[in-house]
Symmetry: C2
Subunit: 123 residues, 2 copies
């Protein structure tokens, strides 16, 4: 078999520069591990069938909900359950986030629109 | 609904001191996020149905396989596919690891034995 290999997060984040476009950097149990860079504000959306984990590795993310908000800094994560509307906002010029979510997850959820990424790049 | 809350990894790791005893710190899509502290060498084992992700947040982990090994340092992860025998070894006095794996995962896999943790603590 192929020996499992260590993945260095910094290498993966160094390999792309676009924002709000998650890259698949790992796959297990039908779930994806993704690296994404946030800048500014994304869009309000929710996912019908997927819970989403956001683990911040650079900068601070503000996760807005319809009835509150949470700051997520380096070394912190937040889990957004399916069905919960959320709006990720980068509080720094660039915020780096590791996502852990089902392989079926679309970045804009049920909101759709021009910021939807359909062809996920693998790094 | 209850507002999702930010989880600080450091707080979770500060909340326990035993080794090789994973604590559940998050749950999503039938998967667990666990915090575990490794010291010394664990045991050879594999999981029949579960792939496992190890993300290191302190120290360096050596993941031994029957036909090779990989070092995993801070900010790095490795995914061990189901069925692959592995032996985690802490290369520092204490190594802190975040695990992503199905909620069904038992720490010793099919090997069993005295180091099996059956009652997972939630932090």
């Amino acid at each position: 078999m192929t020996l499992p290999r260590t993945v260095r997060l910094q290498d993966k984040f160094d390999a792309f520069s676009d924002h709000f476009s998650p890259k698949v950097i790992g796959e297990l149990n039908g779930q994806h591990v993704k690296a994404v860079k946030f800048s500014g504000e994304f869009i309000w959306h929710s996912h019908e069938h997927e819970d989403e984990l956001f683990l911040v590795t650079r900068g601070t993310l503000l996760m807005r909900f319809r009835d509150g908000e949470q700051r997520v800094g380096v070394g912190e994560f937040i889990i957004v359950p399916r069905g919960v509307e959320h709006l990720p906002v980068a509080l720094d010029d660039e915020v780096w986030v590791l996502l852990f979510e089902p392989a079926t997850t679309v970045n804009t959820g049920t909101a759709g629109g021009e910021r939807t990424v359909t062809d996920l790049e693998r790094l």
